[in-house]
Amino acid sequence: MAGRVDALYIFLLIVTGMMTLLVFTCLIYFAARYRHRPGVAAEQIEGSTQLEIVWTTIPFIVFMVIFAWGAVVYFKERTPPRDATEVYVVAKQWMWKLEHAEGQREINELHVPVGQDVKMIMTSQDVIHSFFVPAFRIKQDVLPGRYTVAWFRATKPGVYHLFCAEYCGTQHSGMVGSVIVMEPAQYEAWMSGGQTGPLSATGGKVFAELGCVTCHRSDAQGRGPNLQGVFGKPVDLADGRTVIADENYIRECILDPGAKRVKGFQPIMPTFQGLVSEEQVNALVAYIKSLSAAKAGEAAKTNASTVAPQSNPQTQKSQVE
């Protein structure tokens, strides 16, 4: 991905370099060639509509090419691959809190295996921050009150800067960390040290502790919708709209249940605003995602979502037929 960005950058350097050279050459040449000489008058030239059309159209076409290329790159940047591993990020003044789907928690550091698609699902506890890894050419603002997403695939092991790129107060320049890209075997080793259990399992505990299960049963009798397999699917709402149950939808249902109530259910769900932390919301989201996988029933998919995606890409590939 970074390579694609750099390719566009180099193209732009060449194009703008050429434009600069053209303009500067003309300027310098005209300045010298037509400098004032006594007795030589300037020639009054009104203009040339033809020339105007040429130098309007050609730049416009060039600009459209740049726009199109930039748009294609951007589209890829903002479309995470389907099977990317997920990392939940909570930004706060002035640190990054990260939690892998497998459960590892990190502060200001993100360990990832090389060659793996990684998707960050991010929110902020307070003000707007921005997740910026220059080496990967990615940046995404992290907002309070909703999730934003970014993704990358590291291609070379190493340690790379992670910066906050949206001014957030006193220690904005201290909100610096690292993305540590490891060989698969090393990552495996790092992963197995100090596991707290997958995020979705934590979510399951929160689900029980908060009493969600009393209404959201796994049969049709519950006062709330059955959440098995709901993630990622369209949901019909009471007000007639249909939305896709993505991370933001799940989050909104927990914090503001009346906003997008499901058709056929009473408006009785209480709000959990102020009663759950961002990390708990992330865990619940991960848990509900895992219910979809469980419903699908395929063992491979279950493994993929509730256990660490196998660090060895070859192994994973062979698992998923």
């Binding site: 007000d239 503001d256 009346g258 906003a259 009473q266 408006p267 709000t271």
Partner: protein, 239 residues
């Protein structure tokens, strides 16, 4: 079209009786009038942009939180709001009368119309004050003492509005009507001054630009209210 921007040749301008109201940098009275008029219209355009930001924010949140906004709107007194609308429309009539009176040298009508406009303006503010007081008493003023529990959403029996979203409604309600009221107060100030000038006999068929410009401003403030009233008071009123 007479291009008043190209001033008359010097001789003609000196030929007409020197209007004491003509400022020195203008060549003739018509140019001065046209400049004032264009200036006022441009100023009103800036006011449209000023209120426009608020209307934009209101529209976005209303689309997003429609039910909650409807519930909040229901707690406003439509009767008082409608009365205020009638008051302002009448005041626009009195303003038009004032302008005509100035243009046709009807001094009594001019003074009466200006005075009536002022009375209606004060009436508007008075009614607004009553409404604000009602909101204060009902704890619908955003801030620490805001409360909006168990308010039903019109048309959705059994459902209650989210207080946080209702607070946004009231926030916008107070900022929008508050800004409008501020503009009304300025308008009243302008018309007080016009009344004094009219009393002193300053306005003639040759020179009545201030009345006309004041009138334009007043009409604008009226139109803002014409938009505010249905947007704020009449959400799902039938439900």
């Amino acid at each position: 079209m007479h291009d008043s921007s190209i001033a008359a040749v010097q001789g003609t301008a000196h030929g007409e009786a020197h209007n004491p109201a003509l400022l020195h940098h203008f060549a003739e009275a018509q140019q001065q009038r046209d400049a004032s008029s264009l200036g006022m219209w441009l100023f009103l355009a800036t006011e449209v942009m000023f209120f426009g930001g608020l209307f934009c924010a209101y529209l976005i949140y209303r689309l997003q939180y429609f039910g909650d906004f409807a519930a909040a709107s229901k707690t406003l007194n439509v009767g008082l709001g409608a009365t205020n609308t009638a008051v302002l429309i009448c005041s626009s009539l009195t303003v038009v009368l004032a302008v005509w009176a100035a243009q046709t040298a009807r001094r009594t009508l001019l003074i009466t119309s200006l005075a009536l406009t002022l009375i209606l303006g004060f009436a508007f503010l008075g009614i607004k004050g009553i409404e604000y007081n009602d909101k204060f008493v009902e704890h619908h003023v955003p801030g620490a003492s805001f409360s909006f529990d168990k308010e039903p959403i019109p048309g959705h029996p059994g459902e209650y509005a989210n207080p946080r979203h209702a607070q946004i409604y009231f926030a916008l309600y107070f900022v929008m009507t508050g800004l409008h009221a501020l503009h009304m107060i300025v308008g009243i100030g302008i018309f007080l001054w016009l009344l004094v000038m009219a009393w002193k006999g300053r306005f003639t068929p040759e020179y009545n630009t201030p009345v006309e410009m004041g009138g334009l401003y007043w009409h604008f403030v009226d139109i803002i209210w014409i938009y505010l009233f249905p947007l704020l008071y009449l959400i799902d009123l039938h439900k």
